[in-house]
Symmetry: C2
Subunit: 197 residues, 2 copies
DNA sequence: CGGATCGTTGATCAACTTCAACGGTCGTGG
DNA sequence: CCACGACCGTTGAAGTTGATCAACGATCCG
């Protein structure tokens, strides 16, 4: 499957009505890029000028807090988008790192290109509106999980919903995404939680 | 200020280009409602058929977990929108309660009405796209706060960013929004945290 | 082959919760 | 208009969850 076919399949999942011609027009605004493991595509202090659709590979967005700990804010593998969302939407300096966890292929869409696309096609505007709505819904579910579940429950739930992600992510990434330490996640996985009495 | 003027000011904040005629057309799809304190506008099991713009008053969206504890997912006072976002976007059964914390006035927008509005006006589609993007950005900042800050830091930050909200919300609402118990928030507020040695 | 990276395990510790008891205030029915 | 319960907040003691620290083991590349 070539990159355009991948892209067509991707957009048709959200917008079945999109014609091939429209998909081609959109596709023309993207740049295909190869990114090596450990390479950064967004860095704190610089504006995230693009959002990135992962064709193949894996990425992680994280912030580093005062204590120097990193906290994973977002993960992406094949067919997901990633960037520093705040930075991209407001075109303000980023606070996150976005780094490749594997050698990857991405489709990069610049902010200005996205604006033009939305201006030139009503359907594209709708595409990005739906994308933003679903992203918000996803984030809200994550907030609910954080407020209502224990570390173990969050892990088990995540494992059930995103088994592919769990398989591909190193454990320290997973732990920091789920809001716990690697040590604790290791204990959860090996049923080494000390139960009382 | 009458309700339409309130609405016009509200939408112009996001869309300065909106003409009065367009604002009037949008406004016609909303229903003004008065809601008494403790009245529910969304309930679990029923689809959230509307989203609500708070003209005057205060609301709280919360879920009840297995242990019977309630966790506040969203707050809204004047000029904010509220509903069960997941339920509204996917038109699926709600998991949240949305309840009035004061006697309130809201502008209610039904799902179908929103779709028609977006179809009939490009600018309205853009309005809701921007709204969704900012909502997602807001939620992501909340996730970052939850992953990187202690309970005390979350409270102090929230107090700084949303002093009006803090003033108007009862403490148990605030505590459950910030992911801690009322007791603990009370101790934070009275500097009763026991420090070691 | 050798360091860097990632994961494991147990002991101790800190942040926050739970529980219990109590005090104030608000609003509603008698 | 008062009284009484419901609701909300406070405080301290004890309990839990998960973090921190430290040491070690495995694996993976270069």
């Amino acid at each position: 499957m070539n990159t355009f076919d991948f892209f067509l399949t991707h957009v048709r999942k959200r917008m079945p009505l999109l014609t091939v011609a429209e998909a081609e027009m959109m596709f023309a605004s993207f740049r295909e890029k190869r990114v090596k493991k450990r390479q950064l595509i967004v860095q704190p202090g610089f504006v995230a000028r693009s959002r990135h659709l992962v064709v193949k590979g894996a990425f992680r967005a994280y912030v580093v807090d005062e204590k120097g700990e990193d906290r994973t804010i977002q993960l992406a593998i094949d067919d997901w988008w990633i960037t520093d969302y705040n930075s991209y939407v407001f075109q303000a300096p980023a606070t996150m790192f976005v780094v490749a966890l594997e050698d990857s292929i991405i489709l990069e869409l610049g902010y200005e290109e996205e604006q033009s696309l939305k201006n030139s096609s009503r359907l594209v505007e709708t595409f990005f509106r739906i994308k933003a709505e679903r992203w918000a819904a996803f984030l809200q579910r994550r907030i609910i999980a954080g407020l209502t579940q224990s570390a173990e429950e969050r892990y088990l739930d995540f494992l059930e919903k995103y088994p592919l992600l769990v398989q591909r992510m190193p454990q320290y990434v997973l732990a920091s995404y789920l809001g716990m330490t690697t040590e604790f996640l290791s204990k959860i996985r090996h049923h080494k939680l000390k139960k009382k009495s």
